[in-house]
């Protein structure tokens, strides 16, 4: 996992539990183990993809890294500094987020110019004419015009609104951006536009991305390395090509085989691994390996001992007893 670049982000044993009150007097507490003991790092200028299905904790992980949720346990080290318990406001200039829903992530009562300018007000980065110029520059950077600054979000299409959201995130000149499913709500032909733009911005501004998505093909395309999460745990982490060519974890294998292929011949030839049943509840995850209830290779040890997340090939991490020879 080490690389010749400095790691801009190191996440160690990150855990986030939510308590759910049950019982008449709210005294019976259940705990949703949304993110459990997750460790990874991201090098400067890299894109780390994070995939998984609903309930796997990838969105929670992304938000906890930005301290939108307070971590229950673990450390978040940003550019060498442990930011787990510090005052976040100065770091909000360095770490930003792009949201999934272009319709909900923009305040409908603010003009586009105000939305993009707000971060500058919050951090006192610019005023008056300088602020206006910066706003226009950002709008043009994301492919909009400065005439759009006086319009309201509802006058734009989904893809354009997403561009506004990106411009807003860039207003503070961040180094690291968490992209939380930024293209899932967009039309297919627009998705490619946004992805290309994100890549261009990464090159020109030297950004680092944590790209959270469930569209595996898109994640493979944009990421250098990809991590797979299941029920709060990171089960595999490898370079993009390696993960998709030689998936180690049975869940990753099933996940990859379930992706629809836009090629009728290949689709018919492909062997599908169909997983039985549903994802278990994160309140009461299975003992030992959490995937064992749906795993075609589950054995006795899987129910007793949690598999260790370790290297199974150079730069390729996996948590599975199949590799504990």
């Amino acid at each position: 996992m080490s690389s010749k670049h400095i790691n801009i982000l190191e996440v160690k044993n990150l855990t986030k539990h939510f308590s759910v009150n049950k019982g008449i007097f709210g005294n019976q507490q259940s705990v949703v183990k949304a993110v459990d003991d997750v460790t990874f790092s991201i090098a400067k200028g890299e894109t780390l993809g994070l995939v998984g299905e609903s309930g796997c904790g990838k969105t929670t992980a992304g938000r906890t890294v930005l301290r939108l949720y307070e971590p229950t346990k673990g450390q978040i080290i940003f550019d060498g500094t442990d930011i787990t318990k510090v005052r976040m406001k100065p770091y909000r200039k360095k770490m930003q987020m792009i949201f999934q829903d272009p319709y909900a992530s923009l305040n409908p009562r603010m003009t586009v110019g105000d939305i993009v300018g707000e971060p500058m007000d919050i951090h006192k980065l610019a005023k008056g004419k300088e602020k206006k110029d910066r706003i226009y520059h950002l709008l043009e950077l994301v492919g909009l015009n400065k005439e759009h600054a006086n319009r309201y979000p509802h006058e734009f299409s989904g893809g354009q609104r997403q561009r506004v959201g990106i411009a807003r995130a860039l207003a503070v000149q961040p180094e690291f951006i968490v992209c939380d499913e930024p293209i899932s709500a967009l039309d297919v032909s627009i998705q490619a536009q946004i992805v290309n733009m994100l890549e261009d911005l990464q090159n020109s501004l030297g950004l680092t991305y944590l790209f959270i998505a469930h569209d595996l093909s898109m994640v493979k395309h944009i990421s250098n390395r990809v991590g797979v999460m299941y029920l709060g745990k990171l089960v595999e982490l490898a370079s993009s090509d390696e993960l998709y060519d030689k998936p180690a974890h049975p869940y990753t294998q099933a996940l990859l085989s379930a992706i629809p292929i836009a090629d009728p011949k290949a689709s018919k030839e492909r062997k599908r691994i169909i997983l039985e049943g549903d994802v278990p509840s994160p309140i009461d995850p299975p003992s030992g390996c959490r995937f064992r209830t749906r795993c075609p290779y589950a054995s006795k040890i899987c129910a007793e001992v949690e598999p260790e997340f370790k290297e199974v090939a150079p730069g390729h991490m996996c948590a599975c007893h199949l590799y504990n020879k």
Binding site: D187, V188, A192, I259, P260, A262
Partner: protein, 326 residues
């Protein structure tokens, strides 16, 4: 193969305060018995409106201006509202995108299933209950007897969609219309649902119309593909034709801009521009603004549908240009 459903020259509009929205312009395609047809398009393409027009479930401000729909040799516009209601759920089943909101949260699944069965068949309540259990088994829900008594919120998304399918199948429809049935579901659950649909199609010789934006799903389950853009059909043909010999610039563009697993880190080729505004549709081809091959005539006149070979054709002026050697 006999045609179960024929849609001929369908034009549908909506009256809104901002003006008349021309949602569908001259839509024509057929669905054979036991055939799965994929209707592919993005927002504003009109794919959902087509289905709502077939089922006569358009909102109050929606009108079918002209064209006809022939289902099982019956002209649907000749049917009264009541006859249409009998048809729905009985001979034509529909499943919608969001299983969370399509099920009534205050009634048990069993209640909703049994009501649906009772409405469309002459079975007694006890018989209907048995049929409901059979259906739940058919769609792969474990311990169906217990599940009948549960409420929608006790089911996961994938399970709910299966229940929707069970409801749609309860009267053994000849045609199943599925409007983005798996968009809200996880990839592994989606795979389960698609396998289920393939299975049912074979067992029951049921026709399926699958409305989706996901070309991968279409490649998996459909024999025929209809590509829509801006309220018109821009191309249709067999699955092989569409994927391996696309004719229309939009189809080609769509296939080029989705990332493939075997691609390297090469750049995606997006289709520039935005989907069209359906209140002021372009006078000519709906795709003219975004087409890299556009010609002067594309702005002025709507292209005519031309067949490249039997069953595969597209609406594009490039055919005319090629054939005339211009």
């Amino acid at each position: 193969m006999k045609n179960l459903l024929e849609i001929n020259n369908l034009y549908t509009t909506f009256r809104t305060y901002a003006g008349k929205v021309y949602a569908l312009n001259n839509v024509s395609f057929n669905v054979g018995t036991g055939e799965a047809v994929g209707v592919v398009g993005e927002s504003g393409s009109g794919k959902s409106v087509t289905m709502l027009s077939i089922m006569r479930l358009l909102a109050e401000n929606g009108f079918i201006e002209s064209g006809n729909i022939i289902f099982d040799n019956k002209n649907l516009s000749d049917l009264t509202d009541k006859q249409m209601q009998d048809l729905r759920g009985n001979e034509i089943g529909m499943i919608f995108q969001d299983p969370m909101t399509s099920l009534n949260p205050v009634f048990t699944i069993g209640n909703q299933l049994v009501e649906s069965i009772l409405k469309h068949t002459k079975l007694k309540r006890s018989e209907a209950k048995l049929r409901a259990i059979e259906l739940l088994k058919l769609v792969g829900i474990p311990s169906p007897e217990k599940r009948l008594k549960q409420y929608p919120h006790e089911f996961s998304g994938g399970m709910r969609q299966r229940v929707m399918i069970a409801m749609a199948l309860s009267c053994e429809p000849k045609l199943l219309i599925a409007d983005e049935p798996t968009t809200a579901l996880d990839v592994t659950i989606q795979a389960q649902i698609i396998e289920l649909m393939k299975d049912l199609k074979e067992k029951l010789n049921m026709s399926i119309i699958l409305i989706t934006h996901d070309l991968g799903l279409v490649a998996d389950i459909c024999e025929k593909v209809v590509v829509m853009y801006g309220g018109t059909i821009v191309e249709q043909g067999s699955t092989g034709d569409i994927f391996y010999n696309p004719q229309h610039p939009y189809t080609k563009g769509l296939l080029k801009c989705i990332p493939r697993m075997n691609m390297g880190r090469e750049r995606l080729k997006p289709i520039e521009g935005q989907p069209p505004d359906m209140i002021n549709p372009p006078k000519g081809c709906a795709f003219v603004e975004r087409c890299s091959c556009a010609m002067k005539i594309c702005e002025l006149q709507k292209p005519v549908y031309t067949e490249v070979k039997k069953g595969h054709g597209s609406a594009c002026w490039l055919h005319e240009a090629e054939s005339k050697g211009v």
